[in-house]
């Protein structure tokens, strides 16, 4: 706690750090607002600019973008019915409805309040929980870390929407990409086919930039660019709800914040899952659940509080366990690795200033984001008028130069093009990209820990069953996947019965 306060003061008094924080917030808001630029893509594009920075500065810039990005898309969802990010889709249902009912300013106000309050509660929890969590994690050895990675990838696959089989295929492809090059344990050259660029391995930066950056541009190019229309009109502003208004939605706020933190803690489940689950919980347990979808504040507060609160949870997961749970934390993980810092419990001992900088950035980021969102709402929304084709052209350029900047190797550019095409093909065929990217990042960690554990146990796989933490994590992973399969089958069966009843009814009539 004291470290966070000191880091906050240091951030506020260092002009360079403060400038980076503001730049990160503005960039994150812009990435959230522009439909052609996703939050993850925005953070990927900022990555090359961090190469020449100190680690703390890089962390400040990227974390500020992450925090602000969970809020930026609210403007477009409420005013234009365009979800800047998938996490903003639940905001369409009540946020846009409230705007259409003539209260766009209030809808924006509820979003702002939910983002700040949800984010602050999550941050407080993260500060209190992170250090004890890291102390527990430091006692882990190879079997526990392998089990943790398995739990992480199981949750990525089972909590992501869409087909489970497609998620598993995407993950396995990612894990296989990570095996290319010289392996860490035996020093053998794998899948390089005599090509020197492949001997060094495939950089996860190339995979991330290619699949998320270039791939996303190709997807949008194929669908065509659009011109949004606002329902906010010329009197566009944010009106903050009063304390009485907030007291009326306190149930939704606390429930969703708790959901956000818990979902953020689970590797693989990011802000999007948190946002949907919080909205679903409001539909099940909310006081006014029967009016959800008609433009009530609870429908705005729940998804926004949960998505911003998930940042705190995701950061606990990244910093204490070294597991990036989402696309955004995967890039922050990559940035830390590029600066020679392995995220994980040891960071709390070796570089506590980084942990404090992350928490201080979230704190100041939430406050700064609120000020920018409140005062400059009109200017921010005007960004939507920027032609998407122009932005996309520059995104492609930044992706390519970003990859060149990492190792100054033109071979990486070919990898970017290849992974851009792969990302587009995956997205086009409804294969999720996140499992592939997380597979590339977590693959070496999984393999090294598995082989080390097996060597240590004389090739006896019982080592994973006899150690309680490892066994519990592996069981949890198996239960998670089994539950996903069971729920999917149950939903299919319910639909089949529903359609059968409908057909019988038609025949009867």
């Amino acid at each position: 706690m004291i470290g966070t306060i000191t880091a906050t003061a240091a951030l506020l008094t260092t002009p360079e750090a403060l400038a980076l924080l503001i730049m990160g917030l503005v960039a994150g808001l812009i990435a959230g607002i522009l439909p052609g630029l996703t939050l993850v893509m925005g953070i990927v594009l900022a990555l090359p600019f961090t190469y020449a920075m100190e680690t703390t500065s890089a962390v400040v810039l990227l974390t500020a973008m992450y925090v602000a990005g969970t809020y930026g898309g609210a403007f477009t969802s409420i005013l234009f019915r365009i979800p800047g990010e998938p996490l903003d889709i639940p905001l369409l249902w009540d946020g846009y409805a409230m705007a259409r009912n003539g209260d766009a300013a209030m809808a924006l106000g509820y979003t702002l309040a939910a983002a700040v309050l949800g984010g602050l509660c999550a941050l407080l929890l993260a500060i209190l929980v992170a250090a004890p969590f890291a102390r527990l994690a430091i006692s882990f050895s190879a079997p526990e870390f392998f089990a943790l990675v398995v739990f992480g990838i199981a949750s990525v696959v089972s909590l992501g929407g869409g087909s489970l089989l497609k998620g598993v295929i995407s993950l396995l492809v990612g894990l296989l990409i990570a095996t290319v090059g010289i392996d860490d344990v035996y020093g053998a050259n794998r899948f390089s086919f005599g090509l020197p660029p492949l001997t060094d391995g495939i950089s996860y930066i190339c995979v991330m930039i290619g699949a998320y950056g270039l791939g996303e541009v190709l997807v949008r190019l194929e669908r065509g660019f659009s011109t949004p229309r606002s329902v906010g009109g010329a009197r566009l502003r944010t009106r903050l709800p009063s304390l009485i208004d907030l007291a009326r939605v306190k149930g939704a706020l606390f429930r969703s914040t708790a959901i956000g933190v818990l979902i953020g803690l689970v590797p693989g489940a990011g802000a999007t899952v948190a946002s949907f689950i919080a909205y679903g919980a409001e539909g099940q347990y909310g006081r006014r659940r029967d009016r959800l979808g008609s433009g009530i504040p609870e429908g705005i507060v729940a998804p926004q509080a949960a998505s911003t609160a998930s940042v705190g949870g995701a950061m606990i997961c990244l910093l204490t366990l070294g597991i990036p749970g989402s696309g955004a934390t995967a890039i922050i993980f990559g940035a830390l690795m590029l600066h020679g810092l392995q995220p994980g419990p040891q960071v709390f001992m070796s570089s506590p200033q980084i942990v404090d900088a992350v928490f201080a950035t979230i704190l100041l980021g939430l406050i700064g984001m609120a000020i920018i969102g409140w005062v400059f709402v009109r200017g921010l929304v005007r960004i939507l008028k920027a032609p998407e084709a122009l932005i996309s052209a520059f995104v492609v350029l930044f992706c390519l130069v970003g990859a060149l900047a990492e190792r100054n190797n033109t071979n990486d550019l070919w990898l970017i093009v290849a992974f851009g095409a792969i990302g587009w093909a995956l997205e086009r065929n409804a294969f999720p990209i996140a499992p592939m990217v997380l597979g590339v990042i977590l693959g070496p960690m999984a393999e090294t820990n598995f082989i080390t554990a097996m060597i240590g146990a004389g090739n006896d796989p019982a080592v994973f069953a006899t150690r309680p933490v490892a066994a519990a994590l592996l069981c949890a992973a198996a239960v998670m996947v089994a539950l996903r399969i069971f729920r999917s089958r149950q939903r299919d069966r319910a639909e089949a019965i529903g359609s059968h009843v409908a057909m019988s009814g038609k025949r009867g009539s």
Binding site: R190, L221, E222, R223, P387, V401, V417, A430
Partner: protein
Amino acid sequence: MEAQRRYVSGDMALERNVIIRQTAPYLALAAVAVWLFVETGSFADRAGPEQLGPAFWPRTLLAALILVCGAAAVRTALGIGPSAAERAQQAMEAAANDTTESPPAPRRVGLAIGIVVAYVGSLGLLGYPIATALLLAGLLLIGGYRRPWPVVLASVAGSALTFALFRAVVYVSLPLGRGPFLEATVAVMNAAGIR
């Protein structure tokens, strides 16, 4: 009767084509996985007699990939459609994308990939400023820009600004080109005061 039979057989052929098209990616991926599995036999085995060796991990992944691709191909061939979860995801994506106005145009994607490939291939020869101006112009044209002046202005200005930004701020060593292109780049750099 004959017309009906032809109609039914045509319908079946169409259905067969759809199934083949849908299972092809899974079968192709499984075939690549089998080839890579065979390839793992060539890894120099540096492990001791009691150790798993460098091929163990990729073989496990490849075996899993073959199994999963096989399961997905069988599901598709048997006509087991997307699950409720998958349909919900598709509906969600449709909701996110329902602001787009034009139908999908994969040809534009092919052209964009072609331009990026040409850019990467010619970067060493043309140098960053010239190649980038051409890349931006090409992408803007594909993106729907038709009037020449905005395209020329945006691509030349964009190339010059990013060149200055990446050299002066991020310190990236950008390719300057070869032969006459190198001379042109150096002349532009001198004129702009970039070192």
